[in-house]
C-alpha cells in the first residue's frame, strides 16, 4: 500500500516493517485521546480557577491550545519528522506561517488603527490652543 521509498500520505501510519518496535496503532490513538483530554481539562480548570494570576491565564490557555493541536497532529494525523513525510510537514509549516501572519497581523494593525482613530477628537483641542 505505502511504498517506503515514496512520500507517505498524511494520516497514514509509518509502515510497521520500517519500525518494528513502533507501538500498535490502537495504543497511539488511545494515548492521544488521554493526553488531549488531560489538556482540555487543564484548559477549563485554568479558565475558571481563582488560584492563578489572571494575567498569566491568557498565555497559559494559548500554550495549552497549541500543545493540544500538536498532540492531535502527532497522535491522530501521524505527522512525523521522518524523511517520508517531509512534503506534509513543509506544507503544514507554510500553513502555520500564513495563519500566524493573518491573525497576528490583523490584530496588530487594528490595534494600531484604534490608537490612531483617537487623533481626530484630540486635534481640535490642539488647534484651539494655537489660536
Amino acid at each position: 500500500m505505502t511504498d517506503t521509498r515514496h512520500e507517505r500520505a498524511p494520516g497514514d501510519r509509518p509502515s510497521r516493517e520500517m519500525h518494528a518496535s513502533a507501538p500498535s496503532e490502537f495504543l497511539v490513538y488511545t494515548i492521544g485521546l488521554i493526553v488531549a483530554l488531560l489538556l482540555t481539562a487543564t484548559s477549563f480548570w485554568a479558565a475558571n480557577t481563582t488560584l492563578l494570576w489572571t494575567g498569566g491565564v491568557f498565555l497559559g490557555l494559548a500554550v495549552l491550545a497549541i500543545a493540544q493541536m500538536g498532540i492531535h497532529l502527532v497522535f491522530f494525523l501521524h505527522i512525523t519528522t521522518g524523511p517520508e513525510s517531509t512534503n506534509n510537514v513543509l506544507a503544514l509549516a507554510f500553513g502555520v506561517l500564513i495563519v500566524f501572519v493573518v491573525v497576528a497581523g490583523s490584530m496588530w494593525i487594528m490595534a494600531d488603527m484604534n490608537q490612531n482613530m483617537l487623533m481626530p477628537s484630540a486635534e481640535p483641542t490642539i488647534m484651539r490652543m494655537q489660536h
Binding site: 500500500m1 505505502t2 511504498d3 521509498r5 515514496h6 512520500e7 507517505r8 500520505a9 498524511p10 494520516g11 497514514d12 520500517m18 519500525h19 518496535s21 513502533a22 496503532e25 490502537f26 490513538y29 488511545t30 492521544g32 485521546l33 488531549a36 483530554l37 482540555t40 484548559s43 477549563f44 485554568a46 479558565a47 475558571n48 489572571t54 491565564v57 491568557f58 490557555l61 494559548a62 495549552l64 491550545a65 493540544q68 493541536m69 492531535h72 497532529l73 491522530f76 494525523l77 512534503n87 506534509n88 506544507a91 503544514l92 507554510f94 500553513g95 500564513i98 495563519v99 493573518v102 491573525v103 497581523g105 490583523s106 490584530m107 487594528m110
Partner: protein, 210 residues
Amino acid sequence: MNIAVAIDTVPQDTPPSVSETGPAPKRVVVAYGFWIFLLSDIIMFAALFASYAVLVRSTAGGPGGAQLFNQVTVAIETVCLLVSSYTCGLMSLAINSRYRLGTYLGAILTFALGAAFLTLEIREFADMIARGATPERSAFLSAFFTLVGCHGLHVTLGLIWLVVMMVQVAAMGFVPAVERRLLCFSLFWHALDIVWVGLFTVVYLMGVSP
C-alpha cells in the same frame, strides 16, 4: 526512531533515487492534495479568528461573552468532538485491516458523537437568539456566529460525507477509490477537531475569563 534503529534498517543495496521510483502512488497524491485543501481551509478559519479577535470588544452595549456562554455545554461539546475524533481513528484502523463490522461500528459512534455536538451547538445558538443575542445585535455577535457557525457547517458537511461513505462501503466494499475517500474523510474530521481546540480556547475560555 533513534539513530541505532535507523542504522540497522538501512538496506544493504542503496534504494533507487526519487527520480527512478516513478510517480507516487495515487493514495499519496490524493491525500497530499486533500492536505493542501485542509490547510487552506484552516487559513480561512484564521481569517475568521482574526476578525473575531478584532471585534470581540465591540458589543455595542449588547451582551458580551461572559453573559452568553455556558461553560458546561462547551465542555460536553468538546469531549463529544474529541472522542468522535478518536472513534474516527479507530474506524481508519478497521478500514486498514478490511474489518467491515468495525468500520460500521466506528462510523456509527463517530456520527452519533458528531450529531450530539451539533445538537448542543444548535440549542446554544437557539438559546442565544431567544435571549436577543442575534447576529445583527453587535459586531461581536456577528463575528461569533460567523466563526462558530462556519465550524458547525463543516461538522454538518462531515456528517453527510460520513453517511455517503458508509453507503459506498456497503455498495462497493473496500475498493481503492473508497479507501482514498475514507482517508480524506478522517483527515477532514481530525482537522475539524484541531480547529475546535482553537475555537473553544479563544472564544469560550478567553471570552469568559476576566
